[in-house]
Every structure is written in C-alpha cells, then in structure tokens.
C-alpha cells in the first residue's frame, strides 16, 4: 500500500487552483475540480493533524534485535 503523501495532495490543490485560475474548463468541470481541490485540501489538514511528536532511540539486544525506546529527556 502506498503511503499517503502530503506533498501529493498539496500538489493536487495547487493544480486545481491553477486550472480554475486559467478558466479554460467549463463550469460543470470547474465544480468537479473545485470539489476535488477541497477534498485534497482536507487531506492535507488531516495528514498534518495526524502527525504527533515522538522521539525514540534504537537499541540492539544481544541477539541483534532492534527495539525503540523513548529518548530520555536528560540525555
């Protein structure tokens, strides 16, 4: 499954804006594009709000397995 990328949605919004600003597409299409633009814009906001702060440190055990632990603040 491909990861949803912020920049792809951002590019889509920018593309829609450019197309609408050019005014070449007919009205019906414009509305479809507008809807698509709004949808992509919402995705951008969703991705941003879905990100959270997490700082981890990887450690390797004797068997060579990697485990992530939160970074200690004083280190």
């Amino acid at each position: 499954m491909k990861k949803e990328r912020f920049e792809d949605y951002l590019a889509e919004v920018e593309k829609v804006v450019a197309e609408l600003e050019e005014g070449e597409v007919d009205l019906e299409k414009s509305l479809e594009k507008y809807e698509a633009g709004i949808k992509a814009l919402k995705k951008c906001y969703e991705i941003l709000s879905g990100m959270e702060k997490r700082i981890e440190v990887l450690t390797k055990d004797a068997d060579g397995n990697l485990a992530a632990k939160p970074l200690k603040k004083n280190s």
């Binding site: 990861k3 990328r5 912020f6 951002l10 919004v13 009205l27 941003l48 990887l58 990697l66």
Partner: protein, 428 residues
C-alpha cells in the same frame, strides 16, 4: 650460518686480497694472491647483508614511486627513484592494509623502513613499515583516491540521487547520542515542526569501529518494519581525523545502497566528505539538515489557508467567465434555465464550503452578491431580442442545439426557431 665469526665486511684485511689497492704491482703473478679458501657467494652476500643492515638499518627515504607491482599475495613491490638513482621497496600486505591511502605510480612518497638485502637475487631493498605521501597528507590522498574510484563507478551521479520527501512522517537519525549534532537537530526540528516521529540510531562517529557502526545503522534502518521516510547521517565539527569515518568506503557504500533517501550532515560548511558526495542531499551542518528535512509547520498552514482562499476565488472568477458565455446558453434553454443552473452550482459550493468554515462562506457570500449583480444586468437582455435582430437557433430532432454539422445526417429533421415562429426542415 656462522654467528661466531666476525662478519664485518672490511674488518679482515688479510682475507680481502681482492680489494683494489694501489700498492699492488700490476705484474705480480696472480696465483700467489689467491687465498686457500675463497668465499662462497652466499658467504659474501651474508656479509653484505649484515654490513648493510647494521650500518644503515632503519631509514626514512623519499622518492617517486615507479614500477609498482602487486601480485596476488597482496604485497607490493616498487621502486623509489629520483633523478639519478633508484631503490627497490617492498611493502607487506599486512602493512599495506593499514595505510589510509593507496600507493600509486608517480606518487612522491616518504617511506620509513629497514634496509635489507634480498640474498637470493643479491640486491638491497627497503622493507617499508610506514609511508606518507609527500607534501599532502595521507588522508587527503586517500580522500582523492576513494573519490576517484566511486566517481568512476557512478556513485555520485545526480541521476542516482533520490528525492528528499517534502514532509517526512518518520525521520531516522544516525549519529552519536551525546554529540552536539543531535541536540542541534532536535532543537531545530522542535522549532520548525514539532509533531514528527524521530528515530535515533546511536553510533560511534569517530575512532575505532565508527565506520562499521555507521554503515550498519544505515543498513538496519532499511530493514526496520516502520521505515523512516528519510535519514540524516552525520556529526558535528572536528578535525579531518575526527570526521574520517565519513570518508570511508564502507560508509559510502551503505549510503549508496540505502533505499531510504539520505541527507549527510557532517561537520561544518567547509567540510566535504565522501559521504556528502554519495548522499542524496548534502546538508552543510547538522542544523541545516534539520532545516532541509522539514518545512515550517506554521508556513505550511499558511500555505493551505492561501490555497483555500484561491480555490474559492478562482471558482468565483470561473463563474464570472461563465456569465459571459450565457449568451450562447440563453439561445437554447429559455431564459431561466442557465441562471437556475448557476444557482444550483452555488448551492453545491455552499454545501461543500459548509465544511470549510467561515472564511469560505464569506467568500461565497461575496461571490453570490457579484452574481446577483451580474444577473440583474443580464435581465436587461432577452434572447428574444437577439432573435429579433435576425439570429436563429436550430435544434436537432432530439431538441438539442445544433452546434456542429456532425450532429446531423441526411434525412434528419431539424427545427429552426426565429423571432416569430419555427421552421421544420429535413437535412439533404
């Protein structure tokens, strides 16, 4: 073979009658001078060997490398020469492996070693214990050599460079846990875009084992179940020796084979390492890497706000253009139809923008006002007036406006509307 014997070559004059000596008479019969027991070649060579090794022993010597040979044994044989002389040198595999750089023909070298005699062939040579390129440091030469090698393999090719994601969700950092570099990176990320997932892989960044740990960390990141979208590999400033791990081939290869894009962040602006050349992106410092890797969240939100605004404005503008095209629509659909459609569109925009907050709604209010104003202007015109000026509208049998000859075929019925009535016709 004969350790008790005094082996000094010239210490025993009586036993060295072959030595050139002006006192000898040229016509003295030679046989009387032949000793009873001449030296064997081996004995003589052994004397030479001991004499040279004792008298000269360990030396520093400088010259130009030529005739370099490296058989499968891994030992290297070459000449050091200057304008008028040359001397053979050999460097054993074990010594060679510890050199930072590769010996090459034409190189000006300073070597330290022991002068010995190779008895089998009867020549003297230097067994090299250490070597340094003359003038430039060994590290600089090593850097140039590795750079040349990797460049020839195409590892610095811009086409190989992977794009750095615009907004990585997960960032992997390969550096020392205690270094200033990590603190710099974390501080700047916190300022620009705090809500991000950072995974730190602590490694030694200098000294014994550093290059292995760094390259292992890059490889390990590439096998994690949750892979970072981008890696930052680096350390803070230091001497060329401190930064050396980032000039090692093993690190360069790990960066090169990483499927995750790598940003190198080694030392200061002026420090260029092999890692920088192989990396998908070079950051001049660790702090700069943090700036490259993430946008500023606030700016991003501003951009989204602007785009939101532009979307609405451009649609509004689009509606205004549509208004201009109403002339054409008006001919076919009776007067109210186009306006109704426009109103319908605006209602749909309303629905959509309901989800987008006050700003959008305000914009739409404005655009509705503009539309009302324009439609008032349009009301002054009537399609009938246009027909009265001599224009007509022609419909196909399906009551579609005839805009192209492609819409009809011979035998089709068409209907033409004029100001005072309709004409039915058949296409010939």
């Amino acid at each position: 073979m004969n350790p008790d014997k005094n082996l000094s070559l010239f210490s025993n004059g009586a036993e060295a009658p072959w030595r050139p000596n002006g006192a000898h008479k040229a016509n003295t019969p030679a046989p009387s001078l032949i000793p009873k027991k001449p030296l064997s070649v081996s004995e003589l060579t052994e004397r030479i060997k001991n004499c040279l090794e004792n008298a000269i022993g360990s030396v520093w010597v400088t010259g130009e490398v030529s005739n370099l040979k490296q058989p499968i044994s891994g030992h290297q044989y070459f000449y050091l020469k200057d304008e008028s002389s040359l001397i053979r040198c050999v460097i054993w595999n074990s010594t060679r492996r510890n050199l930072k750089f590769q010996i090459e023909n034409g190189q000006e070298l300073i070597v330290q070693g022991k002068l010995t005699v190779y008895k089998k062939e009867g020549y003297h040579q230097i067994i090299v214990d250490a070597a340094e390129p003359k003038g430039v440091g060994a590290l600089q030469v090593a850097f140039e050599q590795l750079k040349r090698k990797l460049e020839a393999e195409g590892l610095f090719d811009p086409m190989r460079k992977k794009p750095i994601p615009f907004l990585p969700g997960v960032i992997g950092i390969v550096t020392s846990l205690s270094g200033a570099a990590l603190q710099d990176i974390l501080n700047i990320i916190d300022r620009r875009f705090p809500t991000v997932h950072i995974i730190i892989y602590p490694v030694k960044v200098q000294g014994e084992g550093a290059k292995e740990e760094i390259s292992q960390a890059i490889d390990d990141f590439n096998t994690l179940p949750i892979q970072p979208d981008v890696l930052i590999v680096g350390r803070g400033g230091g001497s060329i020796e401190d930064l050396w791990a980032f000039n090692e081939e093993i690190v360069a290869r790990a960066i090169s084979r990483s499927k995750i894009p790598v940003i190198s962040a080694v030392g200061h602006e002026i420090d260029y390492t092999i890692a920088d050349l192989v990396a998908d992106k070079r950051a001049p410092t660790p702090s700069a890497a943090a700036e490259i890797v993430l946008p500023v969240k606030k700016e991003l939100l501003d951009t989204l706000g602007h785009l939101n605004q532009k979307l609405v404005v451009s649609l509004q503008h689009r509606a205004e253009i549509a208004q201009g095209k109403l002339d054409a629509l008006r001919k076919g659909f009776g007067w109210q139809a186009p306006l109704n459609r426009i109103r319908e569109y605006y209602q749909r925009i309303d629905d959509l923008s309901g989800k987008l907050g006050i700003f959008v709604r305000q914009r739409l209010e404005q655009s509705k006002l503009a539309l009302a104003e324009k439609s008032a202007r349009l009301n002054a015109l009537s399609p009938l007036n246009i027909l009265a000026r001599g224009y007509s509208i022609t419909y196909t049998g399906e009551r579609k406006i005839l805009k192209s000859v492609k819409q009809v075929k011979p035998g089709n019925d068409i209907l033409t509307k004029l100001t005072d009535g309709e004409i039915k016709s058949k296409i010939q």
